[in-house]
Amino acid sequence: MIPRNVQITLVLLLVAILGSGIYILLLHRRTEEGLRRASDQRPVAAPVAGSNETVKLTIAYDEDGVFRTRDISAIVPSESSARAKSVLEALIGYYLSKPSPHELADGSAVNSVFMVNQKLAVVDLNQALADGHRSGVMVEDFTVISLIDTLATNLPQVEQVKILINGKERETLAGHADIRSIYSTTAIHKVVAQLQ
C-alpha cells in the first residue's frame, strides 16, 4: 500500500512532466515557424525608394484665416511624380488627422500626379475629396492654395499646376474655388505670403 502523501507527490510530478512537455512542444513549433518565415523570400511590402527627408507643408488654418509652414519628416522618392504624390499625401494626411486646422472629408486622397516637362504638374485628386469638401469661398480656396504651394515648395521646378478630380476637369472644387484654370505657382506663393 503506497502512503497517501507519496500518491499526491507522484500525481503532481506527472502533471508537471506533462505540462513541461506541452510547453516544450509549443516552443518547438514557434521556433520552427520563425525559421520558416525568415527563410521566406516573398515580397510583402512595397519598396520605398527614397530617403527620409524634411517636407515643408503649407498648412491652412481656417480659424485664423492664415497659412503656416510646418516641417515634417517623410520618406520621399526621388522620381518627381512619385515625389509630388508623396508630398501631397503627407499634406492630406495632416489635414485628415484630428484635430485638424482645415478639415477634409474622410477618404480624401491624391490619385496620381503627372509631370509634364517637369514644369507643369497635373494633380488628380479623388472624388471623395471634392464631393465631401465643405462649400465656401475661403475653405475651398485654402485647400487649392495649400496643395499647390506645398507642391511648389517641395518641387521648385514646378511652375504651373492643373487640378483634376478623378481624371476629369471640374469647374469648381465645391461651388466656389476655380479649379478649371491652370495655376501659376508664382501667383500662389504671393497669396500665401500675403496670408501668412
Binding site: 465656401g136 475653405v139 466656389h176 495655376y183 501667383a187
Partner: protein, 508 residues
C-alpha cells in the same frame, strides 16, 4: 397625245410641287411643333407645388406630392426643421419620436401605419383624412387636415390656409396693417410685426410685393384707397406665398424703414438723365473659348427705381450699370447653412436688397438671376460682359462668423500689360481691372466699417471673377439658421454706398 398631256401635266405638277410643297409641308409641322413648344414652355415655367411652413423656430417650404389625386407631405420634411425627430420604419409601421416642446428631456411619440388612415399620437387614436403612404423611404401624410397630427404632437396652435398652402404654427401669422399718409404725394405705410423681405416688382403702375418666407396675412382681400396716387390694394395667397398688390395712378416705389418692419410705398421719382459726357466703362470683351455661341441667360434689368423687370435691352446701355450676381441657384444650392436653408436662398435675398439700395441711389442694376434658376459660371460671365457693367458684385454666404470681401487673383500670371481695348483672354480678362477691383473692395470694407461691422478683404481664386471685364468683387457673408448673421439691409446699404461713390458725379 395622251402621253404628252400626261407628261406636261406631270411636269406642271412637279413645278407646283417643288414650289409649294415645302410650304405646305411646313404647316402641319408648325401645327405640331407649336403646341409642343407651348407645352414645354408652360411645363418648365410651372412652379412645383410647395407648402410654406411658418414656425417660431424657422420658416421653410416643403414639396407637396400628389398621390391618387390627393396632396401629401413628407412627415420628416415637415417637422425636421422644428427639432431633431427620429422616424423609424418597422415593417409597415413607422414610429416617430420628437423632443417634447413643453418639457425638456421628454419625448412625444406617434405611430403611423402605411395604408392606414388611423394613427396613434401620444397614445391617442387620431384619424387622418387619407391613408398614410410610403415612397422612397419617406413617410407621407395627407396634407388635408394635417393639423390633426400636428396639434396633439407638437401641442401648439396650428392655422392652416390649405387652399393657399400656408401653415402657421405657434401663432406666427401676423397681420399687415396699412396707413395712408395723405399728402402731395401721399405715402402708404405697410406695417409688419417683424422684419420682412418680400420680392418686390412693378407692373405698370402696380407695385407687387410677394411674401414667401414671411408669415404675413391680411384680413381683407381688396381695399379701395381713394387717393390721388393710390387707387386700391389687393391681397392674394397662392401656392405658399402671399401677394400684396398696390395699384396707383403713377409708377410706385417701395422703401424699407424701421429695420424692415415697415415698407413705405410712394411715387417713383422721375428717372435721372444720364450725363452725356460719361465714358463707357469698357470696350474690350473677352471671348469664351467654348462659349462664343452660348446663349445669354435671362437677366432682369431695372434702370429706374420701381420699374418693371424687362429683358436685357441693348442699346442703349446705361452709363453706370451694376451687375449683381446672386451666387448659385437652381440645382446648385451652394453651402448648406442648415437642413432647410441653403446659400442660394440667402444670396438671392441679399441681391434683391442690394438692388433696392442701388435703385434708391438711381443706379441701374442688372440681376443675373432673380429667381431660383440654374446658371453656369460661363453663362454668368457672358451675360455680365455683354451688359458692359461699371461694377460686378458676386454674393455668397457661408455658415461662418466673419464677413469677407474677395478680390480676384488671377490663377495664370502674365507679365503682359492688360489693355482694355485689346483682346482680353477669357481666363484672365479681370487682369485689366484688378487695381479697380482692389479699390472697390477697400471702399466696400470702409463703408461696412462705418456701419460698425467688420469685413476682411482677401484675395481669392474665385470664378466668375477671373473672366469679368469690369471692376469685380465677391462678398461672402456669414449665415446661420435664421439667415444672415449681420443685418441684411446694413450690408446692402454699405455695398450700395461704396458702389455709388464710383458713379461719375456720385457721392465721394
Amino acid at each position: 397625245m395622251k402621253f404628252d398631256f400626261q407628261m406636261g401635266a406631270r411636269m406642271a405638277s412637279s413645278k407646283v410641287h417643288r414650289r409649294f410643297m415645302p410650304r405646305i409641308c411646313l404647316l402641319p409641322i408648325a401645327y405640331y411643333l407649336l403646341p409642343c413648344l407651348y407645352f414645354l414652355l408652360s411645363a418648365s415655367a410651372a412652379e412645383p407645388d410647395k407648402l410654406s411652413v411658418y414656425a417660431p423656430e424657422a420658416h421653410y417650404s416643403i414639396p407637396i406630392v400628389t398621390l391618387d389625386g390627393r396632396p401629401y407631405v413628407g412627415l420628416l420634411d415637415l417637422i425636421e426643421p422644428l427639432g431633431t425627430p427620429e422616424l423609424k420604419p418597422e415593417s409597415k409601421r413607422w414610429k416617430l419620436r420628437v423632443p417634447d416642446p413643453k418639457s425638456a428631456g421628454k419625448f412625444a411619440e406617434a405611430e403611423f401605419q402605411e395604408g392606414s388612415a388611423t394613427a396613434k399620437i401620444r397614445g391617442r387614436q387620431t384619424t387622418l383624412s387619407a391613408p398614410a403612404r410610403s415612397e422612397n423611404h419617406r413617410l407621407l401624410l395627407p396634407m388635408h387636415g394635417i393639423g390633426t397630427v400636428l396639434i396633439p404632437l407638437l401641442e401648439t396652435d396650428v392655422t392652416f390656409h390649405e387652399a393657399a398652402r400656408r401653415l402657421f404654427l405657434g401663432g406666427t401669422a401676423s397681420a399687415i396693417s396699412s396707413e395712408l399718409r395723405k399728402g402731395e404725394p401721399s405715402t402708404l405705410a405697410l406695417h409688419f410685426a417683424e422684419a420682412v423681405n418680400p420680392n418686390i416688382h412693378s407692373e405698370g403702375n402696380a407695385l407687387i410685393l410677394s411674401f414667401t418666407r414671411d408669415p404675413v396675412v391680411s384680413f381683407g382681400e381688396n381695399e379701395a384707397l381713394n387717393d390721388k396716387l393710390f387707387t386700391s390694394s389687393s391681397y392674394e395667397e397662392k401656392n405658399g406665398a402671399a401677394t400684396l398688390t398696390i395699384n396707383g395712378n403713377a409708377p410706385l416705389l417701395a422703401k424699407f424703414a424701421d429695420n424692415g418692419r415697415t415698407i413705405l410705398v410712394s411715387a417713383a421719382p422721375a428717372p435721372p438723365v444720364p450725363p452725356t459726357t460719361a465714358a463707357s466703362p469698357s470696350t474690350a470683351q473677352p471671348q469664351a473659348p467654348s462659349q462664343q455661341s452660348a446663349q445669354t441667360p435671362a437677366v432682369t434689368e431695372s434702370a429706374t427705381p420701381g420699374a418693371a423687370p424687362s429683358p436685357l435691352r441693348r442699346p442703349p446701355t446705361p452709363t453706370f450699370l451694376v451687375v449683381v450676381d446672386a451666387g448659385h441657384g437652381g440645382s446648385d444650392t451652394g453651402a448648406r447653412i442648415t437642413a432647410s436653408l441653403s446659400e442660394k436662398e440667402i444670396t438671392l435675398s441679399l441681391a434683391r436688397k442690394l438692388r433696392q439700395e442701388l435703385q434708391a441711389r438711381h443706379i441701374a442694376v442688372t440681376m443675373l438671376r432673380d429667381s431660383d434658376s440654374d446658371l453656369t459660371l460661363e453663362q454668368r460671365v457672358v451675360a455680365t460682359n455683354l451688359a458692359r457693367p461699371s461694377v460686378f458684385i458676386s454674393l455668397h454666404a457661408e455658415p461662418g462668423a466673419s464677413l469677407h470681401i474677395y478680390t480676384p487673383v488671377l490663377p495664370v500670371s502674365s507679365n503682359a500689360a492688360f489693355e482694355r481695348n485689346a483682346f482680353l483672354p477669357w481666363q484672365s480678362a479681370q487682369g485689366a481691372f484688378s487695381a479697380e477691383s482692389g479699390s472697390l473692395a477697400s471702399a466696400a470694407a470702409n463703408a461696412i466699417d462705418k456701419r460698425k461691422m467688420e469685413a476682411q478683404v482677401r484675395p481669392a481664386f474665385l470664378q466668375p471673377l477671373h473672366s469679368i471685364a469690369a471692376p469685380a468683387i465677391a462678398v461672402e457673408a456669414p449665415a446661420d439658421a435664421k439667415g444672415l448673421r449681420i443685418p441684411e439691409d446694413q450690408l446692402a446699404g454699405a455695398l450700395a454706398e461704396a458702389i455709388a461713390a464710383r458713379k461719375p458725379g456720385g457721392p465721394q
